[in-house]
């Protein structure tokens, strides 16, 4: 598996996700600078990591979405290549039009770093094939602007097409949109593109991969990707 992790000025979880990919796949990803215009030859997976690209002083991800490297990412996605955007990466994917909707400030206006419970809504995607359908997993969140929102028609379409891949749930496994930690519409934590090859999610699977540090629920996401690419 050949993966590329994009590095924007202000990215700060690029090392975490590179380490997780290395740990799970045995291969170190290429680190690709925002000002580059091409991905390394034969890239299978592009990762947009967490952080505060360009300081996020404008709308989160808005400047990064216009970085030179993003043309190559769009082309990769159009070819059906896998793209994973985590946290700031999800924000960038939305700003660049690769995923619908937008991430606005958390409903309570504060940054939140804590473990969140998520429901894996389907397991027939390249990102979730190693999870059971409906599995409840724990990933941490760490964001100030993770409140997913979109117009009613978009939300309806996402739901009808089954493109909500991860949803925040309460300890009993049910969603509660009134209590959701950041105010996200329909308790949405992560969505996929129509062709299921582009995933954006706010929580951090890359921070739950190592038993020496904490829970390991995030590992299966990376194993899924490795498995999907091997199969392909």
């Amino acid at each position: 598996m050949k993966s590329a992790v994009l590095v924007f000025p202000g990215s700060n979880r690029e090392g975490d996700v590179a380490r997780a990919l290395h740990m799970v796949s045995g291969v170190k990803p290429a680190m690709v600078w925002h000002a580059d215009t091409a991905l390394p030859q034969g890239t299978d997976l592009v990762v947009l990591p967490g952080g505060f690209s360009y300081g996020d002083y404008l709308r989160c991800g808005a400047i990064a979405a216009r970085a030179p490297i993003m043309e190559a990412v769009r082309a990769h996605a159009a070819r059906g290549g896998l793209v994973l955007g985590i946290c700031n990466g999800f924000q960038i994917l939305c700003e660049s039009g690769l995923l619908p909707g937008v991430l606005v400030r958390n409903a309570r206006l504060r940054f939140i770093c804590r473990e969140a419970l998520l429901k894996v809504e389907r397991n027939d995607t390249p990102f979730t094939r190693r999870y059971a359908r409906g599995a409840i997993v724990r990933y941490p969140v760490a964001h100030g602007e993770g409140n997913y929102t979109a117009d009613a028609a978009t939300l309806k379409r996402l739901e009808e097409d089954g493109r909500v891949l991860f949803r925040y749930v309460m300890p009993d496994g049910h969603r509660d949109d009134a209590q959701v930690l950041n105010g996200a519409a329909n308790s949405i934590a992560g969505i996929v593109s129509e062709k299921l090859n582009v995933l954006g999610l706010m929580p951090h699977p890359e921070n739950h991969v190592d038993p020496l540090v904490g829970p390991t629920d995030g590992r299966a996401l990376f194993e899924s990707i490795v498995g999907a690419l091997e199969k392909a």
């Binding site: 000025p9 202000g10 700060n12 979880r13 090392g15 975490d16 380490r19 997780a20 967490g50 952080g51 505060f52 360009y54 300081g55 996020d56 002083y57 309570r108 504060r110 940054f111 939140i112 770093c113 804590r114 941490p140 760490a142 100030g144 209590q179 930690l181 951090h204 890359e206 921070n207 991969v209 190592d210 020496l212 540090v213 904490g214």
Partner: protein
């Protein structure tokens, strides 16, 4: 706006925070009247914050050496050897005054400043901590300060990308109008690749890197060296504005040009900005520095030499670049989008010369600017000793469970989750022990080593007996590191006191320093860096003396790390160390009986060491399942914290009949740890304690969903948790999320 060259008058000298005799000293030193720019430079170099003129004499008594100390006080941060060719680089620094005036930016730039201190030395920051003291929750400004300071710390650290893993938060009316923000950072470097401020080589380029210089923060260090009166808010323009994004770029660029071998000397521009950094680089290297301010990257037009020399704009560095490496260094900085300008050269004249628009604005002897700063042996008086509190003399109407319920939900003991959930404490994926334990533990690279870190001090103790209080702050930090299984290695101190010109305040500073020194020596826990913050007074009333201790220790194998949560039902709960029922200056007296009096608990340092060594050995040998140090709040609060962390209750025996039960459960005797043991290990643990000569007592057994002391009303753990978690979110008006 300040006119470019006003006439030097006694009023102008006073406005610069310089006393008449200090001004005389300047005249003698340079043999003429200083220019306006020179006056500004002297005020920056000779204020309390930069010169340590009141504390220097007494700081000399601190132990700073050990075989593992690579760099002690005097550099940007302390450096210790942690083995395997790696070094930990750390320091704590206050941003008290700015955080009161403008909490978000004041706290944020405090974090930025300490991170910069660490990466200036070539270390990548791997953890941040902070010790916060706010006024009475009922004070009208407290809520605003808590909200702003916490958001500011999070806003900076989260964006920069360092995990904020621990710290402490306390409330007391003596911090009304003068809250404390002490920020600590810990970095990791190769032990043989540490960078210093000392410049070497004549005629080498002095390079300015980072953000542009603006008019923010002018006289920040002078402001931080004065008391507050009414209208402190008017000083807002002296507070700097932080840009964590620029700092993150500066970090990456600095580490990259260090790696490329371009750097001879490096100094960040912190307090007193360009002045302090340039003078330090020259003075430490026995070199002169000549600056050409026409080359300085400025954010605003029309800035005077005076303003440029005193600006405290953030995210800036000064470096001396190795010969022939200018182009390579510049390319790295341009890649990161940062300013890079050659602003001067090193010289062999030992003069600090500043040119602007064809004029010499300053020409001063560089060594004397630092070395000849005033040094005061200020008069001080010893704090009068207080009597020991006799529990029998107390009129207590509370019950034991009732007192526990109140304590655990009180501002000082209530959960600080609302705060630390606003800090990204997981980034870098090395946080092995998250906030809420005795010490935070961060894995070193891929392990198995880990660094443990903590911040501690009990200001009530320091106020009642500065010497014992100083000892206790060090002992508690040492104990917290021990309680997770780490070997304590070294400490950084952040000394927050009132006005040192008052003999009783100076007496607190002297007493605390002697206590810190005694404990650091006895526990082999040297001081490697620190910061002094004086004049923490508002309208003539000083804060509680608060010498915050930041401790760092090492775990050889993080898999052996101990945590404080009960692990299983049916385990034996032991307390190691003697319980005498010491209630003087306890949280129980303060919170339940509303009195803060009596002598604080004495710290027996050799006993502290013996007890800690025993506990560390037990952890290392896997003989204990949970460990928690006993600090303020005493045994019952410590037990409750162990229950809350696990959801497992405990059945506890009644106290010995000869002891007042309140004194037993809430007394704050030092050098104690609570441990749990499986039944199979019990005999061995008792034997080890006996061999070490440490008293051990069985408190009870884990199990169930409540805390039940024989003969008292049982309390459901979940109900305690509700109280524990409720106070802060409700106080901040945030609901229960």
């Amino acid at each position: 706006m300040i006119p470019s060259e006003p006439k030097i008058t006694p009023e102008l000298v006073a406005e610069h925070g310089l006393k008449p005799d200090e001004y005389e000293r300047i005249l003698t030193l340079i043999g003429r009247e200083p220019t306006f720019t020179e006056l500004g430079i002297f005020s920056a170099m000779w204020n309390e914050h930069c010169s340590y003129k009141s504390s220097r004499l007494h700081l000399r008594g601190l132990p700073t050496k050990a075989p593992w100390v690579i760099q002690g006080p005097g550099e940007n941060a302390g450096v210790i050897d942690i083995g395997d060719g790696k070094a930990a680089v750390f320091k704590m620094e206050s941003h008290n005054h700015p955080s009161y005036i403008e909490p978000y930016q004041g706290a944020g730039t405090g974090v930025g400043g300490i991170l910069r201190d660490v990466f200036t030395m070539g270390a990548r920051p791997i953890a941040a901590l902070n010790a916060l003291r706010f006024g009475d929750p009922k004070h009208p400004r407290t809520r605003h300060l808590v909200g702003g300071v916490v958001a500011g710390i999070g806003g900076y650290g989260n964006s920069f990308g360092v995990p904020t893993v621990g710290g402490l938060v306390g409330f007391h009316t003596r911090y009304d109008g003068n809250n404390l923000v002490n920020a600590m950072a810990v970095g990791l470097a190769d032990a043989d690749k540490i960078f210093y401020a000392k410049a070497t080589g004549v005629g080498l380029p002095v390079v300015y890197l980072g953000s542009k210089t603006g008019r923010d923060g002018i006289h920040g260090a002078t402001m931080a060296s004065a008391e507050f009166g009414e209208g402190a808010e008017e000083k807002r323009p002296t507070v700097q504005v932080g840009d964590p994004f620029a700092e993150k770029l500066l970090l990456e660029a600095c580490l990259e040009i260090m790696e490329a071998g371009c750097v001879v000397a490096i100094q960040d521009m912190g307090a007193a900005g360009l002045t302090c950094s340039a003078v330090e680089m020259g003075a430490k290297g026995d070199l002169g520095i000549e600056l050409d301010l026409d080359k300085l990257p400025c954010r605003e037009t029309g800035m005077s030499a005076y303003e440029m020399m005193l600006s405290e704009s953030q995210e800036r560095m000064l470096m001396v670049i190795a010969p022939g490496k200018e182009e390579q260094a510049e390319a790295i900085f341009l890649k990161w989008g940062l300013d890079f300008a050659i602003v001067g050269y090193t010289t062999d004249t030992l003069r600090f010369v500043v040119r602007h628009k064809g004029e010499i604005k300053a020409d001063l002897p560089i060594k004397e600017l630092g070395d000849e700063a005033p040094l005061y042996d200020r008069p001080w008086v010893e704090t009068p000793k207080q009597q020991r509190v006799d529990p029998a003399s107390l009129d207590i109407t509370a019950t034991i469970p009732g007192a526990l319920e109140r304590l655990i939900g009180s501002p000082d003991f209530a959960s600080k989750r609302w705060i630390w959930e606003q800090y990204d404490h997981l980034i870098l994926n090395n946080t092995v022990q998250r906030p809420g334990g005795d010490a935070a533990v961060v894995r070193v690279e891929d392990g198995p080593k880990g660094l443990a870190m903590t911040c501690d001090v009990t200001p009530r103790y320091c106020e009642a007996d500065p010497f014992e209080g100083g000892k206790q702050a060090v002992a508690e930090a040492w104990r917290n590191l021990t309680a997770v299984g780490a070997r304590p290695l070294a400490l950084t101190d952040n000394l927050n006191f009132g006005n040192p010109e008052k003999p009783e305040i100076m007496g607190q500073l002297v007493g605390c320093l002697r206590g810190i020194g005694a404990a650091a020596l006895e526990l082999d826990f040297p001081v490697v860096s620190g910061n002094v913050s004086l004049y923490n007074e508002t309208n003539g009333r000083g804060i509680l003396p608060t010498p915050t201790i930041g401790g760092v220790g090492v775990l050889d194998d993080i898999e052996k790390m101990a945590t404080l949560d009960f692990k299983a039902n049916g385990e034996t709960i032991l307390v190691l160390g003697a319980t005498t029922g010491w209630l003087g200056q306890s949280a129980f007296l303060s919170e339940i009986l509303d009195r803060e009096d009596g002598a604080p608990p004495p710290v027996d340092l050799p006993l502290e060491r013996k007890t800690g060594d025993l506990v560390r050995g037990l952890i290392n040998d896997g003989l204990v399942t949970a460990v928690h140090d006993v600090s303020d709040g005493g045994l019952l609060v410590a037990l409750t914290e162990m229950a809350l962390a696990s959801g497992i209750g405990a059945n506890l025996a009644a106290p010995p009949p000869d002891m007042n039960p309140f004194a037993f459960w809430f007394g704050e005797d030092q050098a104690r740890y609570i441990v749990t043991v499986e039944n199979s290990a019990k005999a061995l643990v008792l034997r080890r304690a006996e061999l070490a000569g440490i008293p051990v007592a069985k408190l009870g057994t884990t199990g169930g969903d409540r805390l039940h002391i024989a003969g008292e009303r049982p309390i459901v753990v979940d109900a305690l948790r509700e109280r524990h978690e409720a106070w802060l979110p409700i106080y901040m008006g945030a609901g229960l999320m």
